[in-house]
Symmetry: C2
Subunit: 229 residues, 2 copies
């Protein structure tokens, strides 16, 4: 389904649990496929103590103004709902995500390459984010890499370090099996052998990552899979 | 509620819409407060075509092994559910988030300061992520800053640029009213006057941001509010 059919709403309500069930029910009846829901209690300001439910959804079988209006009208009619506000979906704001994980010094360098390359693409209308976490140790790294599969909008993973192997390599295999390509810095350990691409210069690793997920770039990681730069 | 009471599960099912409604209902009856749900169709691997529903929730009125087991048992009993797997919540993996927004060259420098400082904290057991998007232009910047309120786990925002004002300043006020502190680089335009802290050196701006959200650091942005470094 095209991105143009995605909608985002924020629903302010005073009974989060009940509202979530009722909203799921209404969405289901209107043929709206919920992609993301997050619920939180407003902690500050004049809405403090109320619940905010943020939803992103697509309409199955095509969108129309009338269908959206009918859906919103029914949502607003719920007794616990105070207001329904529409937004741009987060994909249209923050776009595709490059995730960079590893040791701080190298993560920062890969981020520099990726942010500067993303800047050049975003200026021309794309939306690419560069998200990082400096983390070390086999168990923590493996758990963090596995969790990348549960983050929204991830398009590519870059591993920035000097030694990664063991359980981390199994996590890399799992991420790749979910369709997320992996770039590894040229490093010790078995991770590099399991990556789609190995890059020695961290700045270039960041640039490659953004080039791959850009819709305007001509670079495709599949065409250089297994190579070392 | 303490972080220790948060649970995360991934539910594999073959009827996402129906399952989401049934899961909301079961969660509600078991006193589970859903914080985040995301639903997606598995695009790769041997589960291709099935739906995956990822939930994070807290149990109201305290957790117990028995309550969790009863909840999972009922979830597994749904006819559309194939498997229920438990995970660590994303807050425990990726932790608190520093968000950096602005022009590429400066975003990259702030990120370098923040990633290196986060590395020092994460090595000692904290979890701090540094997430960025290079974006320019008044309308795009304002929309992106507003959307920060809809991202999970955001603890602080850093604005990295040389000129920000107009509609962007209103967005900054809205982010601060939601309880998210804002650090601005020392720049032209009205944004700096509306920030909690103004910092000239981008590396230091990133370090300050991480120091503020760290549980181990002694720095508190409230104690230097309105100052320019």
């Amino acid at each position: 389904m095209a991105d143009s059919e995605m909608y985002a709403v924020s629903i302010l309500c005073d009974d989060c649990q009940g509202a979530l069930r009722d909203i799921s029910d209404i969405m289901s009846r209107h043929g709206a496929r919920i992609m993301t829901v997050s619920a939180s209690v407003v902690a500050h300001g004049d809405k403090k103590g109320l619940s905010e439910i943020y939803l992103e959804f697509r309409l199955e079988d095509g969108s129309s103004e009338n269908r959206v209006a009918a859906l919103f009208s029914e949502l607003k009619g719920l007794s616990s709902v105070i207001s329904v506000d529409t937004y741009q979906p987060l994909l249209r704001i923050f776009g595709k995500r490059v995730i960079i994980i590893g040791g701080g010094a190298q993560v920062a360098q890969v981020a520099m390459g990726a942010v500067n390359e993303a800047d050049r693409h975003n200026i021309r209308g794309e939306k690419i984010s560069v998200d990082t976490i400096p983390i070390v140790g086999e168990a923590d790294l493996a758990a963090t890499i596995d969790a990348v599969c549960r983050l929204p909008r991830v398009s590519i993973l870059v591993l920035a370090g000097s030694l990664m192997g063991g359980e981390i390599t199994n996590s890399v295999d799992r991420v790749r099996s979910m369709g997320i390509p992996v770039i590894s810095l040229n490093m010790a350990g078995s991770v590099a052998e399991h990556a789609d691409l190995v890059v020695t210069d961290p700045i270039q690793a960041g640039v490659f990552a953004v080039m791959h997920i850009s819709e305007k770039g001509v670079f495709d990681i599949k065409r250089v899979r297994g190579r070392v730069f």
